[in-house]
C-alpha cells in the first residue's frame, strides 16, 4: 500500500502517509525549505504542480541589488527600518543563514554558488543585452563573469544560426558603459541535426566532450587577448562543472555563462540536482500534481489532498509550508473583475488599493518603479512566517507562507527576490522544526 490514506480517513494519520513537513511548491523557496528541513533531519514531502520561477529566472541570487558596498550590512539596515518587509520579518540573520544553508545544500547536491568573499559586495554580471545586474551570489560559472575587477576585453561567443543569443547587442551596450568587448560567432558541430534547439537541448549537447571541445577549438585562437570569455548559459546540463572547467582549460581563459531566454539552465540544473539529492535522502517529491484541497480544523491544517492520475490522495503532516509562488506561479489567482484570492487556504490577502484593476499596472511595462500589483499583492505573515488576518492575528498555527506568496516586495524591480525566498524558507523551517536560530555577528 502506498503511503496515502483512504478517502474516508480510516488509515490513521500517524501512518505512512504522514511526514513531519509538507512543502507545497517547487520554486527556489520550496526547494530550499524542503532541503533545509531534510538536512535538519525531518521527514519531508514536497508537492508541486510544476517547477517554479528558477526555470525562467537568470539563475543568480539577488539579495539586495542596490547595495553599493556590503550587502549584508545594507539588508541589516533595511530590516531595521522596515519591520513589515519580508527581510524585517525574517530578520537579516535568517537571510544570511538562508544563503549559507542554500550554498551548502547546493554543494551537497553538486552545484556551486559563489559570492565576493573578499569584500562582501554585489557582483557586476552582464545580461545577454549587455546590461549590468548586481546580484550578491551566483552559480560559479556566472560568478566567473564578475566584471567588477575585469581588466581587458570580454569576448562574447555566439553560435551561428542559434536564435537565442546575439552577442553584438551585448557588445554595443557594454562598450557604451565603458567596457571593452568583442563578439565572435562559432559553428555548432552537427548543427544540421537541430531544429531550433532550446537552451536545454543545447546544454545536453554540451555535456558531451567532443561537442564542447569542437567549440573550444574555434574560440581558442580568438581569445588570446581576452580577459574573460562569455557564453550563453547552456554549458552542460548534468556535466556542467566539468564542461566549464575543461573549456576554460582549452581556451586558456576563464569561461563564464550569461543568462539566456527561458528555460534557464542554471535553474534547470538546480531543480534536477536538488530533486535527485532529495530522493536520495528518502524524501518524497511529487512534481506535476496539484494540491486541490486542504483540510483545516480549529486553525490547524490536518492534511492536503493531491490530485494525481485522476485520484485524490490525502497526505498528513504536522507542519505545512506554502511556497506556491504568488500571482505568477498560480499561488494567487485573479479575474477580470479585479478579484484576487489564494485558492488553497483562502488566506487573507493584501491587495492593491482600489475596487477594480485600474491601479494594478502602470501604463508602461518597464516603468522604473514597477507595477503595484507585484508589490502590493500577497499574504501578510508574522516573524514566524504564520499567515495573518487584517487584524494582525495568525489564522493558521501550523502553516508557514514563504517566498513570492508574501506581500511587501516587488520581485521584478526590488532586486531581492531570491534573498527573500531563501531567508523566509530558512525562517519557516526553523520555526516549524523549532530549531534554534543561529546568531551571527557578521
Amino acid at each position: 500500500m502506498p503511503d496515502n490514506a483512504n478517502a474516508d480517513g480510516r488509515k490513521h494519520p500517524q501512518g505512512t502517509g504522514r511526514t513531519d513537513v509538507i512543502v507545497i511548491g517547487a520554486g527556489l523557496s520550496g526547494l530550499a525549505a524542503a532541503g533545509h528541513a531534510i538536512r535538519a533531519g525531518a521527514k519531508v514531502r514536497l508537492i508541486a504542480m510544476g517547477w517554479g520561477q528558477q526555470k525562467v529566472a537568470p539563475g543568480w541570487i539577488s539579495v539586495c541589488d542596490r547595495a553599493e558596498d556590503d550587502v549584508i550590512a545594507e539588508v541589516r539596515g533595511h530590516a531595521v527600518l522596515h519591520p513589515e518587509h519580508p527581510y524585517g520579518l525574517a530578520g537579516a540573520d535568517a537571510m544570511l543563514q538562508g544563503l549559507e544553508q542554500f550554498r551548502a545544500l547546493a554543494e551537497e547536491a553538486g552545484l556551486f554558488y559563489d559570492w565576493r568573499q573578499k569584500d562582501g559586495h554585489n557582483m557586476r554580471l552582464m545580461t545577454a543585452l549587455g546590461a549590468i545586474q548586481r546580484p550578491a551570489m551566483a552559480p560559479r560559472a556566472m560568478a566567473y563573469g564578475d566584471l567588477t575587477d575585469v581588466s581587458g576585453p570580454v569576448l562574447l561567443v555566439g553560435f551561428t544560426g542559434w536564435r537565442d543569443f546575439y552577442p553584438e547587442m551585448a557588445v554595443n551596450n557594454l562598450r557604451a558603459q565603458g567596457f571593452e568587448a568583442r563578439a565572435l560567432w562559432v559553428t555548432l558541430p552537427g548543427v544540421d541535426q537541430y531544429w531550433d534547439p532550446w537552451p536545454n537541448e543545447l546544454a545536453q549537447s554540451f555535456d558531451n566532450a567532443a561537442f564542447y571541445e569542437a567549440i573550444a577549438r574555434q574560440v581558442q585562437p580568438h581569445a588570446r587577448d581576452a580577459a574573460l570569455v562569455g557564453f550563453p548559459a547552456v554549458l552542460g546540463q548534468d556535466n556542467h562543472n566539468d564542461t566549464v572547467q575543461r573549456m576554460a582549460e582549452q581556451i586558456g581563459r576563464p569561461v563564464f555563462e550569461i543568462p539566456t531566454l527561458p528555460p534557464s539552465m542554471p535553474g534547470h540544473r538546480l531543480s534536477r540536482r536538488l530533486t535527485h539529492w532529495m530522493l536520495h535522502q528518502r524524501a518524497r517529491v511529487q512534481v506535476g500534481h496539484p494540491v486541490v484541497r486542504a483540510r483545516v480544523e480549529n486553525g490547524r491544517c490536518l492534511s492536503v489532498e493531491v490530485e494525481a492520475l485522476g485520484h485524490i490522495n490525502t497526505f498528513y503532516a504536522d507542519e505545512f509550508i506554502l511556497a506556491t509562488g504568488g500571482l505568477y506561479n498560480g499561488g494567487i489567482k485573479s479575474d477580470d473583475a479585479g478579484r484576487l484570492w489564494e485558492p488553497l487556504f483562502d488566506l487573507p490577502l493584501v491587495t492593491p488599493p482600489g475596487e477594480d484593476r485600474a491601479d494594478w499596472y502602470h501604463e508602461r511595462l518597464l516603468f522604473e518603479h514597477g507595477h503595484p500589483i507585484h508589490r502590493d499583492t500577497g499574504v501578510r505573515v508574522n516573524p514566524a512566517m504564520r499567515p495573518l488576518n487584517a487584524a494582525g492575528e495568525p489564522v493558521l498555527e501550523n502553516v508557514a507562507v514563504i517566498g513570492q506568496m508574501l506581500a511587501g516586495f516587488n520581485p521584478l524591480t526590488d532586486g531581492c527576490a531570491e534573498g527573500i525566498e531563501l531567508a523566509t524558507a530558512y525562517k519557516a523551517v526553523q520555526t516549524a522544526l523549532q530549531l534554534d536560530t543561529q546568531e551571527t555577528t557578521r
Binding site: 536564435r163 500571482l327 507595477h371
Partner: protein, 533 residues
C-alpha cells in the same frame, strides 16, 4: 525641400484611400497616396475583421444594409485572397426582444440578403460552443476579411499601373491658390524631412482625420468620432461569425479570425481621432456580453485588445438629433464636393461608411474627382479580381504549419506563436533597404509577436537579427526592442488578469531580470527628455 507633381493626391492609407488609388489607376489617372503611419494602421486596421452581409443594419439603417450585401458579393469576387468564407449566424437568446426577429427577417428580405433559418440541432452541430439556450438562428453570408491583405492588394495593384503610395508622410498643410487646392506639404513622421506635392485634385480619405485635413484648407467637415473596442480571445471558440439577433448594441459580434476569436464592440463618442485608449469596463462588458452566448468564454485567455475610431458621417439634416444609441447612427457614407459646397475646387472629402463598402465609397469619390478633372471614365474595380501574384496569407497559421510540416524547411522559428521564420524576418528587414524600420513594422508585415506571448521571446530574437543585419554600432536592436515591448504592452494593458497577467509577469521578468532592458533604456529615455527640453 523636394517637390513632386501628380494628377491626384489621395490622403489616407486605409481601405477607402487604397481602394481610391486603385480605382483612379484603373481609370488611367496616376495618383499618389500618402499615409501618416503605415498602411492599414488607422480605423481600417483596428476593426474586428467582419465582412458584413448587411444583416446588422437591416432594421436601423436599410440603405447601408443594401450596400453591404452588394459590396460583400463584389469583394468576395475581386479579393478572395483576403476573405475567409466563414459564413455568419444571427442568434437570438431568451434575453433578446422576441419582437425583433420578425422585423429583422423582413428587413433582410427587403435588403435582398439571403438568410436560412436553422434548427437548434443544426446550430449545435455547426457550433457546439454556443449556448443551448438559442431561441432562433439564421445563417447569413457574413465572412471574415483581412483588411491588411485587402489594402496591400489595392496598393500593389495601383503601383503596377504606375501609381504610388508613401507611408509615414503627414500632411502639414493643404496648398490653396486662386480658389483651389493645388497640393499639400508633407512631413516625414520619422525623419522630419519636408516635401511638397502638387496635384490637380486632392482626395481626402483620412477617415477620422478627415476633419483635420479639411480644416487645413479652412473648411469645416463634421464627423462624429466614435470609438469601439475589440478583444481577441486566444481560442477560436467558433468557426462561424456570430451576431446577436437584437438591435445593435455593445459586444454583440463574435468573429473567428485566424486562430483567435474577436469580440466586438463598444461605442463611445470621442473628440480625438487618435483616441484609441481602452477602459477596463469595456473589456469586462464585452466578456459579460459574450458569456451568455459562448458559455465559459470569461474563463478564457484574452490575448489583446484594441480600439478603433469610427468616422461616422452625420448628414446636415440629422444634426442635433439624438440617435437611440451610437450603434444606430447611420453607417452611410458621403462624398463631399467642396467645389459645390464651399466653392473651393480641387478638394473632395469622403467620410463615413464601412470597411465592407470601401470599394463603393472609392467609386463614388473618384467619380467626383474625375468630374473636377473634366473626365468621364467609368469605374471598373468591380469587374475583375485584384491581381495578386502570391497571396500573402500570413494570417493563416494552418498555411504556415502546412508548409513547415511538408518538407519546406523555413529555417529557424523566431516567433513560435505565429510561425515566423528567420528567412522571412531577414527578407522583411531587407525590404526596408536603408529606411528606418521598427519591430512593429515587421509585426505588421509578418505577424511577429502577435501570439500568446506577445513578443516575450521573439522580441529579443528579432532585435538581435535586426542589429546583426543593420550592423549599427549605436545599438538599433536595443532601442527597437524597448519600443516594441511598450507597444505590445499597450495592447494587453486592459487584459492583465488570470492567464495574461501571468504571461506578462514572465515577459516583464525576461525584459527586466534576464535581459536588463530597463536599466539600458533609462539613460536613453533621459537623453530623449533632455533633447525634448
Amino acid at each position: 525641400m523636394s517637390t513632386t507633381t501628380v494628377e491626384v493626391l489621395v490622403i489616407g492609407g486605409g481601405a477607402t484611400g487604397a481602394a481610391a488609388l486603385y480605382d483612379l489607376a484603373r481609370r488611367g489617372v496616376r495618383a499618389l497616396l500618402v499615409e501618416q503611419h503605415d498602411l492599414s494602421t488607422g480605423t481600417s486596421g483596428r476593426y474586428h475583421g467582419l465582412l458584413h452581409s448587411g444583416g446588422r443594419y437591416v432594421v436601423s439603417d436599410p440603405a447601408t444594409a443594401k450596400e453591404c450585401i452588394d459590396e460583400n458579393r463584389v469583394l468576395r469576387r475581386i479579393a478572395p485572397f483576403a476573405i475567409e468564407d466563414t459564413g455568419g449566424l444571427f442568434v437570438a437568446t431568451p434575453d433578446d426582444p422576441a419582437d425583433f426577429v420578425p422585423k429583422w427577417v423582413a428587413g433582410c428580405a427587403h435588403a435582398g440578403i439571403p438568410i436560412e433559418r436553422l434548427t437548434a440541432e443544426q446550430v449545435r452541430a455547426a457550433e457546439p460552443a454556443l449556448t443551448p439556450r438559442i431561441t432562433a438562428a439564421y445563417r447569413i453570408p457574413d465572412a471574415s476579411c483581412d483588411s491588411f491583405d485587402l489594402i496591400h492588394a489595392f496598393v500593389e495593384a495601383a503601383r503596377h499601373l504606375g501609381s504610388d503610395a508613401w507611408t509615414y508622410q503627414r500632411v502639414t498643410r493643404l496648398l490653396v491658390e486662386g480658389g483651389a487646392v493645388v497640393g499639400a506639404e508633407l512631413e516625414d513622421t520619422r525623419t522630419g524631412a519636408q516635401r511638397t506635392v502638387h496635384a490637380a485634385c486632392v482626395l481626402n480619405a483620412a477617415g477620422p482625420w478627415a476633419g483635420v485635413v479639411a480644416h487645413q484648407a479652412g473648411l469645416d467637415v463634421q464627423i462624429k468620432l466614435n470609438r469601439g473596442t475589440m478583444v481577441a480571445m486566444n481560442t477560436r471558440y467558433i468557426h462561424t461569425i456570430v451576431n446577436r439577433l437584437r438591435p445593435p448594441s455593445d459586444g454583440d459580434i463574435f468573429v473567428p479570425v485566424g486562430t483567435v476569436c474577436v469580440l466586438g464592440t463598444t461605442s463611445i463618442d470621442t473628440e480625438d481621432p487618435a483616441d484609441i485608449h481602452i477602459e477596463l469596463w469595456e473589456v469586462s462588458k464585452m466578456l459579460a456580453e459574450a458569456e451568455p452566448v459562448i458559455p465559459g468564454i470569461r474563463e478564457g485567455r484574452a490575448l489583446r485588445a484594441w480600439a478603433g475610431v469610427r468616422p461616422l458621417y452625420v448628414p446636415p439634416e440629422d444634426r442635433g438629433q439624438e440617435a437611440a444609441n451610437d450603434h444606430e447612427v447611420s453607417r452611410q457614407f458621403a462624398v463631399i464636393d467642396h467645389a459645390k459646397r464651399d466653392n473651393l475646387r480641387g478638394l473632395i472629402t469622403v467620410v463615413g461608411g464601412k470597411l465592407t463598402t470601401c470599394r463603393l465609397m472609392a467609386e463614388h469619390a473618384v467619380d467626383v474627382v474625375l468630374q473636377q478633372l473634366g473626365k468621364t471614365i467609368p469605374c471598373t474595380t468591380a469587374d475583375e479580381p485584384l491581381p495578386v501574384e502570391e497571396p500573402r496569407r500570413y494570417h493563416e497559421l494552418p498555411h504556415r504549419l502546412h508548409k513547415l510540416e511538408h518538407g519546406e524547411r523555413g529555417g529557424q522559428l523566431i516567433c513560435e506563436c505565429e510561425i515566423v521564420s528567420r528567412p522571412q524576418l531577414e527578407a522583411a528587414i531587407e525590404a526596408y533597404g536603408d529606411q528606418p524600420v521598427a519591430l512593429d513594422d515587421l509585426r505588421r508585415d509578418l505577424r511577429l509577436g502577435m501570439g500568446p506571448c506577445q513578443a516575450g521571446f521573439c522580441g529579443y530574437r528579432a532585435a538581435g537579427i535586426l542589429q546583426q543585419q543593420r550592423g549599427d554600432p549605436d545599438g538599433i536592436g536595443t532601442r527597437a526592442l524597448a519600443d516594441f515591448v511598450e507597444e505590445r504592452f499597450r495592447g494587453v494593458y486592459p487584459l492583465l488578469w488570470g492567464h495574461q497577467l501571468r504571461q506578462f509577469y514572465l515577459d516583464e521578468l525576461i525584459y527586466r531580470r534576464v535581459l536588463g532592458l530597463d536599466a539600458l533604456i533609462q539613460p536613453l529615455n533621459a537623453e530623449e527628455q533632455a533633447d525634448a527640453g
